[in-house]
């Protein structure tokens, strides 16, 4: 059952081929047996999952099931789950039992989905390799010596290793798309504001966006149908109708204009990755798409700009972790300042501290104009590049990541080198656009992801473009050898 897609599982449940309880038990057994190799889960919620599965079976029997009723999924441990530990990958929240559900979690509960557990992630979503987690690194199921990418590395690895048919992720600078690419699965970061951020532990509020991570574009559409929508509890949530993302999956691509930004194919791109991407573009040509060379001239500024905006916002967001109302508190504080400093010093890992300090510096008296304001101006220029491009083309394509998965430990001592691995994903967050990563092939045994970027609220088009590629290829069906049966 673990090799079936969500669409297939949903049909099987409705047909009575198996019950949600059987399905859930089979995934829980796989997690118990195989996850020690991968470390993709922080918490496995066995009792809650079985009770949700039994409820789902009743709902299916009563004939009022949704597409996700009885389908087991995993939640990234950044989403608050009432009564269940929500760590955000940090020692700071190691004992934090969330007192409420994130909107995304409530929506899946309403749909009748079953939560298998909470997935591992870079601490507070800050990282591109899942090595900054307090709970240890996640291993890439395709090669256990490689990183899975990050920050949603646990979700990507769990889906690739068939330890969940689908999972949620969040993407602030590439944290859905890059791990999806490195683990050979499909993931979509929707337009900023499309999915509620309520109850999603904030990293950089003007960039954070939640999205689904599955094996197929069709499954992403089913998951996004449940996740998307206006939420009055999120002040930047967008009031706009949600289409049925499955409705246009099969639309013909004839005449589709695909822009290839020359900046995404230049220096720094691994030549073998480039070949895989070029081969997937050929498939689109075969389907009648038209290729247009475009330019996004400010691409090189995206990483520097991001490393002002994101740390500034994180230093502000994480100031709430002060050892007073929740989270880690140091022993025997001498005074209030000692309480703050030691609780935070002990509770946060090195990468989170670095980003908080960069943010505190950029926002400190006398530096605001030179850093944050300058970055917000560059953000406008980066966004304008995309606006111009979308006057000419329907979607933009390129590699998700300049290389395949790197080795564990390879970049963990050098933050700047690590940051540059997100060079193709970060600009999309700065502009607030939707972006997707689709399995496009392999270099050796490590997967390559094709990135597809769309105009605002064009998620349905991205899912359609990805689905048509998956109808003509089988990269998304490949399973890592040790996790296929």
């Amino acid at each position: 059952m673990h090799n079936k897609t969500i669409a297939e599982l949903s049909a099987g449940l409705k047909n009575g081929d198996f019950s949600s309880e059987e399905l859930t038990r089979s995934f829980l057994a796989r997690i118990e047996k195989l996850d020690p190799q991968v470390n993709s889960y922080i918490s496995v919620t066995t009792d809650e999952a079985l009770s949700q599965a039994r409820e789902a079976d009743k709902r299916i029997a009563a004939g009022n099931a949704s597409a996700l009723t009885g389908v087991p999924i995993a939640q990234k441990d950044i989403f608050c789950t009432n009564g269940v530990k929500t760590s955000s990958g940090s020692k700071m929240l190691d004992k934090f039992i969330a007192p409420y559900d994130a909107t995304v979690v409530s929506k899946f509960n309403q749909a009748g989905a079953v939560m298998l557990g909470k997935t591992n992630m870079d601490e507070f979503a800050m990282g591109s390799s899942n090595e900054t987690s307090f709970y240890g690194p996640v291993k890439n199921p395709w090669d256990l010596t490689a990183v899975p990418g990050g920050s949603s590395g646990g979700s990507a690895a769990a889906v690739a290793a068939r330890l969940a048919p689908g999972a949620t992720g969040t993407d602030t600078g590439g944290s859905i798309r890059q791990p999806a690419a490195l683990c050979g699965i499909t993931g979509i970061k929707p337009t900023y504001g499309r999915v509620s951020r309520y109850g999603m532990i904030a990293f950089a509020s003007s960039l954070d966006q939640a999205g689904p991570m599955e094996r197929t574009s069709e499954d992403c559409a089913l998951m996004l149908n449940a996740m998307a929508g206006f939420d009055e509890r999120d002040s930047t949530s967008v009031e706009k109708d949600v289409p049925d993302y499955t409705a246009s999956l099969n639309d013909d691509l004839k005449g589709l204009k695909i822009g290839l930004p020359r900046e995404y194919f230049g220096e720094g791109l691994d030549s073998e990755v480039a070949k895989v991407i070029e081969a997937s573009i050929e498939e689109y040509k075969k389907q009648g798409a038209e290729i247009v060379e475009i330019s996004l001239p400010n691409t090189g500024l995206a990483v520097p700009t991001y490393y002002v905006v994101a740390p500034a916002e994180c230093s502000s967001n994480l100031s709430r972790m002060d050892g007073v109302r929740f989270g880690h508190r140091c022993d025997n504080p001498a005074d209030l300042e000692d309480l703050y400093k030691r609780s935070r010093g002990e509770g946060f890992g090195a990468e989170v501290k670095r980003r908080i300090m960069i943010g505190a510096y950029a926002l400190s008296a006398g530096y605001y104009d030179a850093y944050y304001l300058k970055a917000q101006k560059l953000r406008q220029l980066i966004s304008d590049d995309f606006k111009k491009a979308f006057e000419q083309v329907d979607v933009i394509m390129g590699p998700t990541s300049p290389t395949t998965a790197f080795n564990l430990g390879e970049k963990s001592d050098d933050p700047v080198t690590m940051y540059l691995s997100d060079i193709y994903t970060i600009a999309v967050n700065l502009a607030g656009l939707p972006g997707m990563s689709v399995p496009a092939g392999f270099v050796g045994q490590r997967p390559v992801g094709l990135q597809i970027i769309g105009n605002y609220f064009e998620e349905a088009r991205l899912l359609n473009v990805a689905h048509k590629f998956q109808q003509a290829s089988d990269w998304h069906q490949r399973a890592p050898e040790n996790f296929s049966d």
Binding site: I97, P99, T191, Y192, G193, S206, S235, T236, V238, N298, G300, L301, P304, Y307, V308, S315, S319, V324, R325, F326, G327, R329, P333, D335, L336, E337, L339, Y340, K341, R342, R344, G345, F348, A350, K353, I356, M357, I358, G359, A360, Y361, A362, S364, L373, K374, Q376, K377, L378, R379, Q380, L381, S383, P415, V416, Y419, L430, A431, G432, L433, Y456
Partner: protein, 95 residues
């Protein structure tokens, strides 16, 4: 942009982070490298560019000033490190 030890100590204080003596050289090195990366921003003339506050040019939504949430003090204080008589406990701040 090169930071020295005293810069890092000052920033750590601003951010209310206790950093151990032996970790300061590592932070000094890494933070300087990150600021070098960030300094690439200076190469672009941004005079006349409006700073971007929101990707969709949205403005802050307002709601009616009505009570919409129920009191959940007990649930919220259950996860606090130290409370007494419905108050959060911290070291003494007023002599």
């Amino acid at each position: 942009m090169s930071l020295d030890r005293s810069d890092v100590e000052k920033i750590a204080h601003l951010a209310r982070l206790a950093i151990s003596e032996e970790d300061i050289p590592g932070y000094t090195h890494n933070l300087s490298n990150i600021l070098d990366l960030v300094a690439q921003m200076d190469a672009v003339d941004t005079s006349g560019v409006e700073p971007m506050a929101h990707p969709l040019d949205a403005t802050q939504r307002l709601r009616a000033d009505e009570v919409s949430e129920t009191n959940q003090r007990e649930a919220f204080q259950k996860i606090a490190p130290a409370t007494e008589a419905s108050l959060y406990l911290v070291p003494q701040v007023i002599e």
